[in-house]
């Protein structure tokens, strides 16, 4: 046996894997109607959907950070019964089919939902078919990405720093605010970018929970889906836009995942 012989079988499988992942991107770029791109992307309905997507994804990311960082802290730093179960349940949207997530959202926050019916009676608030509903759907799907990312970052921190702060008389809140949080900043930023990207691409939960109406709930992925039946060129052009955004995100996070 020649121990130095390169494992050709692995190379072949790796090459097939890389080709498999890259070809759809090549297809998208090749089939993009470049000449009509400016006019397609200049359409009023496209600009409206792009703007709505950017706004809702950003709002959803803010919700993810505000609610997800404390939840990640709870899961990483506190010891209590059922912690493992809670962790499994809150990251469930990662593996749940988004359409099923949308149905679950309707049954919880819809006009006749468990919480939604109370919201509607008390405040006259009904989330489905509103822009707020889009944000709720996107937050539901994207928050697990932030929780996983922040919890991992938190576990990588040396817990003795917390103990040192405590020994110097700092309260838990002071420690979280002035010791844990600053060191977590890169992890939170990475989680937020991931959540934002996931929210931007969200389709299934959004169309199920928030429906589809131009200007109110029609985000870019929903528009792509509906355009594909009607105007495939426009659907391809919009897909390219989302692809470019995704590449920009990867570039922004290159230090984290793409070390030179």
């Amino acid at each position: 046996m020649d121990r130095k012989r390169p494992p050709y079988a692995l190379f072949v499988a790796a090459a097939i894997g890389a080709t498999f992942l890259l070809l759809p991107l090549v297809g998208l770029v090749v089939r993009t109607p470049w000449r009509h791109l400016p006019s397609l992307l200049g359409q009023h309905s496209v600009r409206v959907a792009l703007r709505l997507s950017l706004e809702t994804a950003t709002a959803a990311t803010v919700c993810c950070v505000v609610l997800g960082v404390p939840l990640a802290w709870l899961l990483a730093r506190m010891r209590f019964r059922g912690r493992g179960l809670l962790r499994a349940l809150v990251i469930l949207p990662l593996v749940l089919p988004p359409v099923a997530g949308g149905i679950a959202l309707l049954l919880a926050y819809g006009r006749h939902g468990v919480v939604g019916s109370w919201l509607f009676k008390a405040f006259g608030v009904s989330l489905p078919f509103t822009t707020q509903g889009v944000i709720v759907a996107e937050t539901f799907i994207a928050m697990p990405f932030l929780i996983v990312s922040v919890e991992a970052a938190m576990r990588a921190l040396d817990p003795r720093l917390d103990q040192a702060a405590a020994s110097l008389g700092a309260s838990r809140w002071f420690t979280f605010r002035h010791v844990t949080l600053p060191m977590l900043a890169p992890g939170i930023a990475a989680g937020a970018v991931l959540s934002w990207a996931r929210a931007l691409g969200e389709f299934g939960a959004t169309i199920t929970f928030a429906g589809n109406y131009p200007g109110t709930t029609q985000t870019v992925p929903v528009q792509i889906y509906l355009l594909l039946q009607d105007d495939p060129d426009a659907a391809i052009a919009l897909s390219l836009v989302l692809l470019i955004v995704s590449i920009a995100i990867l570039a922004a996070l290159r230090d984290r995942w793409l070390p030179a």
């Binding site: 309707l106 819809g110 006009r111 006749h112 009904s126 489905p128 078919f129 169309i207 928030a210 429906g211 589809n212 109406y213 131009p214 109110t216 709930t217 889906y225 509906l226 594909l228 039946q229 009607d230 495939p232």
Partner: protein, 245 residues
């Protein structure tokens, strides 16, 4: 030649004695045909033991786009001439489409009709949340036509991707009214109440059916289409609320 094949494969010949149909038939049908075509597929298979019907239901525009993209389909039953034209224009239809049924629109509301919806004009009120199909889907195109003929603008909160999604939103109580087909109201049973409106007469949908070139089984496909258009097939469609062409 056929006799030789039959002598070799006796089991296959029991199904071929009438029509020569055997093998798998992929049927793409409009979402509004779900119940009837599921029934028709089962009864057709009983009569032709060598044939397996594989139905797939969805918005006609989605299905047409999938056929044009090369999805292997033997039969396409669309909910409008326009969505069938997507397929014929791409030269993907093997036979000339024939209309086998018609369907008209109805307003679906909660069983108690709490907002007392009585006609299209009530759907323009801001207190009434309305779901319709997206304009690219036949039910959405028909609804738009009905509203336009009455010179009304509905208070639409969502344009759903197919007619069953509209019905679901009504059943869940998330919208107050949905514009769907009469057949959908009928199939939903006690879960919704149907409200007829006069303008529906201006927007009656025709359902064309044709053999598709992307499939592999044109003989069995034609046999299934003949069965849909037979008196047995028509009886199933009429029982569900479809009108004769």
């Amino acid at each position: 030649m056929i006799a030789v094949i039959c002598a070799v494969n006796v089991a296959g010949c029991t199904s071929t004695k009438h029509t020569g149909a055997h093998g798998t038939v992929v049927v793409f049908a409009a979402a509004s045909l779900k119940n009837t075509f599921t029934t028709l597929a089962t009864t057709f298979q009983k009569a032709h033991p060598g044939v397996k019907i594989v139905p797939s239901f969805g918005g006609s525009d989605t299905l047409a786009a999938q056929i044009v993209a090369g999805s292997p389909v033997d039969v396409f039953a669309a909910a409008s001439a326009a969505t069938m034209a997507t397929v014929t224009n791409a030269h993907d239809a093997l036979t000339t489409p024939t209309v086998f049924a018609k369907n008209s629109l109805e307003i679906a509301v909660a069983p108690t009709n709490p907002l007392q919806v009585a006609g299209l004009a009530d759907l323009t009120k801001t207190s009434v949340k309305v779901a319709v199909c997206a304009p690219t889907v036949p039910c959405g195109a028909a609804a738009a036509k009905a509203f336009a003929s009455a010179n009304l603008t509905p208070h639409t909160v969502t344009q759903e991707q197919d007619v069953t999604s509209v019905l679901t939103k009504v059943e869940l109580g998330e919208v107050d009214a949905g514009v769907v087909y009469q057949t959908d109201v009928k199939s939903a049973g006690a879960k919704v109440l149907g409200v007829n409106f006069a303008e529906a007469a201006n927007a009656i949908n025709s359902y064309p059916i044709a053999v598709v070139t992307t499939g592999k089984n044109p003989t069995a496909a034609q046999a299934f289409i003949d069965y849909v258009q037979s008196s047995d097939g028509m009886a199933v469609l009429q029982a569900a609320g479809f009108q004769q062409p």
